[in-house]
Symmetry: C2
Subunit: 139 residues, 2 copies
């Protein structure tokens, strides 16, 4: 398994070098989850690109690309020499296709888990757990 | 939106050219979901690479790559000039890391949906729906 778990200031980020998901995207996905979870509030600074790149053992361009993606999504404000600051971000309203955009990858994720041998029961439990968390305002 | 929905013999496959997920992987993900759902039984033939490539409007190498991935996962048997046949596939037993391998991408998927403006309630509902489906032996 070419998976590397890195405990950084940002919590646990997982990078899987065997995945077809680009590494910068994996980093962005992990950070986005922390941002949505409210782990970092507006005005807070993220670690510098250099710092995180060292922690993760990846090229700093890879981290910079992840930060750029999150900046494009409105999560971060990037300032030259001043790193990345978490922005006050209003959630857009998802259009009618929003639900479908979640349902389809969810189904594919479930299929992959079942295909890898996870029991339907375990998968269902995990989703119920996640749904309950959302009900409590967490993710 | 560079998304193309294609109704083929295989049901609805969605290809998103803007996604960072390679197209062959998107095809494999969609097909895997159909296979896990039992839409094709052991011994059944999938459309030829050429046929599906035409339906999807992609290069046949892209479809061939998707079929190869599914063959590597044990879903398909590929025969020269005879196309792809669905195999009798025993599900492996997921190791202890199996649950985590589902929980993490699930959390990231939820975060992405919330970030795109889907309400926590809508996301939770979708997961409950999926969990109930699993309880009925469907996906």
């Amino acid at each position: 398994m070419y998976v590397c778990d890195v405990q950084s200031e940002l919590g646990m980020l997982r990078i899987d070098l065997k995945s077809t998901t680009p590494v910068y995207e994996q980093i962005a996905n992990g950070l986005r989850a922390e941002l949505v979870a409210g782990r970092f509030g507006p005005g807070e600074k993220l670690p510098t690109v250099r710092r995180l790149a060292i922690d993760l053992g990846v090229h700093h361009n890879t981290v910079a690309e992840a930060y750029r993606q999150l900046a494009n999504e409105g999560w971060l404000e990037l300032k030259r020499h001043h790193g990345a600051m978490v922005r006050e971000r209003r959630l857009p309203r998802a259009g009618p296709e929003g639900k479908e955009r979640f349902a389809r990858p969810l189904r594919e994720l479930v299929a992959r888990a079942l295909g890898e041998g996870l029991s339907p029961n375990a998968v269902a439990k995990e989703m119920m757990k996640s749904a309950r968390k959302l009900g409590r305002g967490a993710i």
